[in-house]
């Protein structure tokens, strides 16, 4: 049985219609005209327990609205939603015991108190048994290297330390599902890596299900095998990262280091991308021309110091999908979800 299941999940917001200008502002005060906007048009997805799924999409795609429905603080306009067997909005408090949440931009720690006090409070909130609490706290303190700042007031912590504290806070009660919203935003590379390692370990050792919402696709690439891509409130892709990379991966970029300054650069079979100083980037389709052939054409016409080939990163693929929309070259109609087991 899937741990998270939604079917045609939809959320429409009603907002008071605003008219521009001073007179308009005055009219807004009294008028009761509404505009309706579907933040989530239709989301159907299933997650198995222990999965670590990247839930991604451009700003305003409906990601956080979906998450709010899964956490039970928003009632869907229509459709079905089940989280660990519960309908979240009907049983908000029971659902809350099954889930943990980490927001990169908002801390749930007590600002004025030492970190450990926030943990103590969470122990009370979730009625975590003493021994379980002690064990989890010891584990997380070690994994996240928190012992140095356990007694420091949260307001004095660095962002990296605070995030580590927030992660521990979200997981002390052994939630089955953890929602991560931009968990590495603003962190330096070392702190990012520490957080990613932690997520991967908890996922594999405890079997915790994670939904990762982020704009940092390096997070997704490092952690997730499966992504659910959402745009304008609809799921446009649901499947393995590998699969999407293969589809879009016929393109490569040839990076050429020229040894002379040429007034222009062109090569047949390659699409000129950019030029910075002596470095020229050329995109080509692997199915139409081999790298070997392209390099030979370049070296015949130009003096070259160095060449290298770049594989497309998830980021550039996703960027293309945002701009062009998703079309599955293999399928004629709508994309078929390819669940990862």
């Amino acid at each position: 049985m899937p741990i998270i299941e939604t079917r045609d999940l939809r959320k429409v917001f009603r907002a008071i219609k605003r008219t521009p200008g001073a007179l308009g502002a005055l009219r807004t005060l009294f008028s009761r005209e509404y505009v309706e906007r579907a933040a989530v048009e239709s989301v159907t997805m299933q997650l198995e327990e222990g999965e670590l799924v990247g839930y991604i999409g451009p700003n305003g795609a409906g990601k956080s609205t979906t998450i709010k429905m899964l956490t039970g603080i928003l009632v869907p306009t229509s459709g079905e939603v089940r989280v660990a067997g519960l309908v979240p909005y009907l049983e908000r408090k029971r659902n809350a015991r099954n889930i943990g949440v980490v927001f990169g931009q908002r801390s749930q720690l007590y600002w004025d108190l030492p970190l450990i006090e926030s943990f103590e409070l969470l122990r009370a909130i979730y009625s975590i048994p003493r021994d379980r609490y002690q064990k989890n706290l010891a584990d997380f303190t070690e994994l996240l290297e928190m012992s140095d700042f356990m007694n420091t007031p949260v307001r004095q912590l660095s962002l990296g330390q605070r995030m580590r504290g927030d992660f521990a806070a979200a997981m002390l009660h052994d939630p089955r599902i953890v929602f991560l919203d931009e968990p590495t935003i603003g962190l330096d590379v070392v702190a990012k890596e520490a957080i990613r390692t932690f997520i991967a370990r908890v996922n594999s050792e405890r079997g915790t299900t994670f939904i990762l919402t982020t704009h940092d696709l390096a997070d997704v690439e490092r952690l997730c095998r499966r992504i659910v891509l959402i745009d304008k409130g609809r799921v446009i892709y649901d499947g393995a990262i590998e699969h999407i990379k293969e589809q879009y991966g016929t393109h490569r970029t040839l990076v050429v280091e020229l040894c002379e300054d040429y007034p222009s650069f062109a090569v047949e079979g390659g699409e000129f991308e950019s030029r910075v100083g002596a470095t020229v980037r050329v995109r080509f389709d692997r199915s139409k021309i081999s790298a070997d052939q392209l390099i030979r054409r370049v070296t015949e016409a130009y003096c070259v110091d160095d060449v290298s080939i770049e594989e497309p990163e998830l980021e550039s693929i996703i960027r293309r999908i945002y701009v062009e929309g998703y079309t599955d070259p293999g399928a004629a109609s709508a994309p078929q979800p390819t669940p990862v087991s």
Binding site: K68, I73, V75, V101, D112, L121, A124, S127
Partner: protein
Amino acid sequence: MNAFDPYVEFARKAFAREATYRVEVFTNVGSLLLRVYLLRCVWTALYGQNAAPPNIPLHAMITYATVALLMSLILEIDGTRAIREKVREGGIATDLMKPISLPLYWFSDGFGQTVFHAVLIVPSLVLALLFVHVDVPSPPVLGAFAISFVFGYLVNFCLNFLMNVVAFWTLETFAIQLMVRWAADLLGGQIVPLDFFPGILGKIVENLPFAAVYSTPLRIYIGELPPSAWPAAIAAQGLWFLLFAGFSMLVWRLAERRVVVQGG
């Protein structure tokens, strides 16, 4: 584990949090002493001008004003003030993701702060006695005062809660806050005893819910209400509390629903 455990913990955390601001604590005690002294000067001057109501002699009036001031140290603590901030900045969402009752959470948080300030009042009171003479009534009167004060506290919490929960609809509640606060202080007898209101107006304000917060316990304290009048006065407070608590729960339901339906 007890279902009230989290709330006891909230109160303890609020207590600890208050204690972290030491400088504020000392300036508060300082400003309190100054206010006690000024109140004495003002009332002594007013009584010198024959402005006094017949049933309250000067020493009772100074006692009234001083005790009212000490009470306000506790009653002005508003655990529900956080609602405004949380609704505006969206932190309310994170709170709703916890398996707790939010109104009870705010109550316990406010209570923790209250206990801290109540402890502080003791040295303030001792110091205040150096500046002014305050009547100390007999133990039964003090006991009745304490019970009445508890009800006043509860009514006050509901008033604050209702005021702040308006944030779910308007976001900006400062003006409402100011008006209600001012009305509650004046009509509740915090600034002057309600005996100062003339004729029919006095009768009206005595029966308003605001009187349950300051006026009733204070009138018990200075002996204006004889023991025979205590049960009725405290029952009236209890009634106001039940009424406001019921109304608060209703409004909270609506507020919670508003968040989950419209997304705050």
